[in-house]
């Protein structure tokens, strides 16, 4: 029942993108997310699409898995799209009834908003699809290291994150077991009204809570018994190292995003000229 709930939706494969340094992947992802907000034209989105196609191709992740990640935000996308159509104030009125006015500009704007959201999620999920949660935490710890200068407990934060991550499969398994055990005693989770459905989760939540506390206690005890001490002089079993892949990946991303930024500045400066072109909405 809870098998499908996975936070880190890692897709195991041996590919160019999988082997890239997780730190670089995070940084490039940030660049990508920022870059997307600079896109003001459909033409720019075509470039992003091209970039994503290249990235997906070199990650060996099936397109289906990538698209599945969009499914979760479809409702959000739809709501954003609809709200923007109605509330964006434009000039060219296409259709109006009572207080509802739909303008051409609103349609163009909400279309871009939808694409932006979808590309945002696809890009972020490409990171989690190709990087194990453990690698992600290592990378975040490494990237946040400068914060130790202002006494920020980076290592402890990373430890909490990686412990939480490593317990997710255990907790899912535990939940699964308890659900099965209660089902075996005739519990039904998918029938009845809202209240009875909510009530049906008590027999799962209480044992789960009890066992989580027990596990946390046991883990703390085990760490203490092995004299665990925070960040001072701790070494890593797996060191993150940069390779030629990171250079190539960065260069490819840089090329695409230079194109986007150039396009952005060209459009802002040349905007008055564009309306003369056919299908001008494609460019603006």
């Amino acid at each position: 029942m809870f098998r499908d709930v996975t936070l880190g939706q890692y897709y195991p494969a041996d590919s160019f993108v999988h082997r890239m340094d997780p730190r670089i992947k995070i940084l490039l992802n940030i660049l990508y997310l920022v870059g997307i907000f600079f896109i003001k034209s459909y033409f720019g989105f075509v470039i992003v699409l091209l970039f994503l196609c290249v990235a997906i191709l070199f990650s060996k992740v099936p397109v289906g898995s990538v698209i599945r990640s969009v499914k979760g935000i479809l409702v959000l996308v739809a709501i954003t799209g609809i709200l923007n159509v109605f509330f964006y104030t434009g000039e060219t009125v296409l259709w109006s009834w009572w207080i509802i006015v739909i303008t051409k500009e609103a349609l163009i704007f909400s279309g871009q908003m939808i694409l932006r959201l979808i590309f945002l999620v696809v890009g972020a999920s490409l990171l989690t699809l190709t990087t194990t949660p453990v690698d992600l935490t290592h990378a975040i710890e490494s990237l946040l290291k400068p914060l130790t200068l202002i006494k920020f407990p980076v290592h402890e934060l990373a430890l909490i994150m990686s412990l939480a991550l490593s317990f997710i499969p255990t907790l899912i398994e535990e939940t699964d077991r308890i659900v099965r055990a209660q089902k075996a005693r005739g519990a039904a989770f998918d029938t009845g009204g809202l209240v009875s459905r909510a009530k049906a989760f008590i027999p799962i939540l209480i044992p789960l809570l009890v066992s989580s506390f027990r596990r946390a206690d046991e883990l703390a005890l085990a760490m203490n018994a092995r004299c665990y001490e925070g960040s001072t002089n701790r070494t890593k079993m797996r060191k993150l190292t940069l390779s030629w892949r990171d250079l190539v990946g960065t260069l490819v991303t840089a090329v695409f995003f230079t194109a986007i930024f150039v396009l952005y500045s060209w459009i802002t400066s040349a905007a008055p000229l564009i309306p003369a072109l056919p299908y001008s909405w494609l460019y603006i």
Binding site: Y11, A181, A184, R185, G186, A188, I202
Partner: protein, 283 residues
């Protein structure tokens, strides 16, 4: 009516990189009132198999008939199936949740939508059957009990549904010797009083040897051997499957080499027969 399983196959996470064939052409018939043991290495498909019997794992490929319920039917009454096939999971005490032991045991019968009176009688009966004192323990929180008591309370929660077939997955794991003995005695009692069919998964070969009538050996998702207990441990080299010979079976084998044939299987029986063979009296 027996449990009949034919050509059962099952794959976890089919069509993904994590796909794993857990069961491969499993065939087994379990007769009424039988006490059958299921043994096998970790990951050999034992748990996957027993979870098919009460529909916790939906049948995807094969045939299963439990009493008069055919799991191949389009609409299976799972509530009826699950009160017919009671299942005690590994470490069942971790499923306890209610404020009191009694309320927890009542969970199953309540789900069966039995009238309140019937629920109460069943709770009392189940407590008595597992040997817990209703006055003393019934109103306590299940989290205040000892390990062995908690396990028996959890088993009572399943017994209160009065299953005709009882499946137990390593019911004695993690208990002290006395707790183990109590659980095994309880199973014998359930069998005698309720005339139930019992299916027990266990890694403890001594426990299997001394208690069950028949053993099915799971190896890599399929049943490699299915024989009466005595025959299995005499004929089959179970060490090959990563399992251990029961102590009493080893002793009997060694004694048979010097011409002493022993029929019993429990420690007491074997001991008495050895004493007899030596010309002494029963102790």
């Amino acid at each position: 009516m027996p449990v009949v399983v034919k050509n059962l196959n099952y794959t976890y996470n089919p069509k993904t990189p994590f796909a794993k064939q857990a069961l491969l052409d499993v065939n087994l018939t379990i007769n009424d009132g039988e006490f059958i043991g299921i043994i096998g290495h970790t990951g050999s498909g034992k748990s996957t198999f027993v979870q098919h019997l009460n529909g916790l794992i939906k049948l995807t490929d094969g045939e299963i008939i439990v009493n008069d319920i055919n799991l191949n039917d389009k609409k299976v009454d799972y509530l009826k199936l699950r009160s017919l096939v009671g299942m005690v999971f590994q470490y069942p005490e971790y499923q306890l949740f209610a404020d009191t032991v009694k309320a927890d045991i009542a969970f199953g019968p309540k789900n069966m939508k039995l009238p309140a009176e019937e629920v109460n009688t069943r709770v009392s009966e189940a407590l008595k059957l597992v040997g817990l004192n209703e006055e003393e323990i019934g109103e306590k929180s299940p989290f205040d009990l000892s390990g062995g008591e908690r396990r028996r309370a959890a088993i009572a929660g399943v017994l209160a549904m009065k299953p005709k077939i009882l499946v137990l997955d390593e019911p004695t794991a993690g208990l002290d010797p006395m707790g183990k003995r109590e659980i095994l005695q309880l199973m014998a009692k359930i069998r005698a009083e309720q005339n139930a069919t019992i299916i027990m998964i266990s890694h403890d070969m001594n426990e299997i040897y001394e208690n069950v009538d028949r053993v099915a050996v799971f190896v890599n998702g399929t049943i490699k051997h299915d024989m009466p207990t005595e025959e299995l441990f005499q004929k089959v080299k179970i060490e090959e499957y990563g399992l251990e010979m029961p102590a009493m079976a080893v002793i009997k084998k060694k004694l048979s080499k010097i011409g002493v044939v022993i029929n019993g299987r429990t420690v007491t029986e074997v001991f008495n027969e050895i004493v007899k063979a030596k010309g002494g009296k029963n102790v």
